[in-house]
């Protein structure tokens, strides 16, 4: 006695998927109508499709959604950084071509709250009373907060020279107290090899952007270089907020 003929499952799957031409499809369907095993295969494929379609759709988990938002924030931050760099040609010395090249390079994005950290610290800034005596070359910041709190100087770009003169001998470099980080930062903004010794430094808010003001030597007696970099500046990238030469 011969074995019963088994249906061609792949051909039936092709029928099920709509791959066969209308004539072949009609012939196979007619065959299925009178052949139980063939019909069973088509039913099994239909059941499989139904089971797949009945799968519940998992919702995007909130933590993943938050990660995506953070990642998009970083992209925004990087775009703003690039825009700030492009808009600062007047704040940089014409002789510092290297910093311009650095500015055009893509900077690695770091923490998710990077941009927020760069926003002016309004709470701190509101308590500051800055008394500038530009003519005398001094700029003094008074904090109304607790004694010993680190004075953060809020200033405009045109006050930088006065602030720089007052910063010589000050060593409040904040995150750039770490010499390795400072060295990496200066390298990243195109100032490698011109950083030692740092003659002074303090944390500032320059035109609304938190940063660190550094006073660097130039090798010429009485001539200094004032550099302001963003607070996140380090070996993985940084932003040069200002770069100016002064005569002391």
């Amino acid at each position: 006695m011969s074995e019963p003929r088994r249906p061609d499952v792949l051909r039936l799957a092709a029928l099920d998927a709509g791959l066969l031409d209308p004539y072949a499809a009609a012939a196979l369907r007619a065959e299925a109508a009178v052949d139980a095993p063939t019909r069973a295969v088509l039913d099994a494929l239909a059941t499989t499709r139904a089971e797949l379609a009945a799968q519940p759709r998992p919702a995007l988990p909130p933590d993943v959604a938050a990660r995506i938002t953070t990642a998009l924030d970083r992209v925004d931050g990087a775009k703003r950084d690039a825009a700030v760099r492009r808009s600062m040609p007047s704040a940089t010395m014409p002789t510092t071509g290297s910093s311009g090249r650095r500015a055009s390079r893509a900077r690695p994005v770091r923490g998710p709250d990077r941009w927020r950290r760069r926003r002016p610290r309004r709470g701190v800034a509101a308590t500051l009373v800055v008394v500038a005596v530009v003519g005398a070359g001094t700029l003094v910041a008074h904090l109304s907060g607790p004694a010993g709190a680190s004075p953060v100087l809020e200033l405009r770009a045109d006050e930088l020279a006065a602030a720089g003169a007052a910063t010589v001998g000050t060593s409040d470099l904040g995150p750039l107290d770490d010499p390795v980080r400072r060295s990496g930062c200066l390298r990243e903004v195109g100032l490698a090899g011109r950083l030692d010794p740092v003659l002074g430094g303090r944390q500032v808010v320059l035109d609304g952007r938190p940063g660190v003001l550094l006073v660097l030597p130039t090798g010429v007696l009485g001539h200094f270089r004032l550099v302001v970099v963003d607070q996140g500046c380090g070996p993985r990238g940084g932003i040069l907020l200002a770069d100016r030469a002064i005569t002391g």
């Binding site: 249906p7 791959l19 095993p37 919702a59 925004d76």
Partner: protein, 183 residues
């Protein structure tokens, strides 16, 4: 009276114009489906999370790459699918095993046999080759029309159907609706 919801194309245009909330709205609108595709393709939440994030950041940055030739959702799905494929190629994420060629027959008449051979759908999907898995996930699980899936995968509609046919056959066995026959 609230403003009418903007279409996907309008949201893309707004994003190009600098409206950050526009892209957030696209993510809210399509995030679940993109996540589902990535999760079912890669199977592991960490991998899927990375792939979706990577894809959406790429879409956010390269919105000019969307030229309106396909629906915005198709464009987003294509980017997510490519991110999934890249991830699997790069990291050889949970490679599938080759399926031995066997003859397939109608279901076993014994329901107990059927029950013991059944697999969970997600487990069964994971055993499909990636090209079949993607086609099945998009067509059968997510319910996209074949033409849309062809656009997402950048392949002819006939190839989508062919991959679905092979994938369904294998799934039908794994899910216990068909049985393999030892030759």
């Amino acid at each position: 009276m609230s403003a009418p919801a903007r279409s996907d194309v309008e949201l893309v245009a707004a994003h190009r114009g600098g409206d950050r909330r526009a892209f957030d709205e696209l993510v809210r609108r399509h995030g679940d489906r993109l996540w589902a595709v990535a999760l079912r393709t890669l199977r592991h939440p960490e991998d899927a999370s990375d792939a979706v994030q990577e894809a959406l950041v790429a879409a956010y940055r390269q919105v000019d790459g969307y030229r309106g030739e396909a629906a915005v959702s198709t464009w987003l799905h294509r980017i997510v699918v490519n991110a999934c494929i890249d991830r699997m190629r790069r990291e050889r994420v949970r490679p599938t095993v080759p399926w031995p060629e066997r003859e397939i027959a109608a279901p076993d008449p014994d329901p107990m046999v059927e029950l013991t051979t059944r697999m969970a759908v997600d487990d069964a999907l994971a055993l499909l080759p990636v090209d079949q898995r993607l086609a099945i996930v998009l067509v059968d699980v997510e319910g996209y029309p074949v033409a849309d899936v062809a656009a997402i995968l950048c392949i002819p509609p006939g190839t989508v159907k062919s991959r679905c046919a092979r994938g369904r056959t294998r799934l039908a066995v794994l899910l216990g609706h068909l049985r393999e026959v030892d030759q």
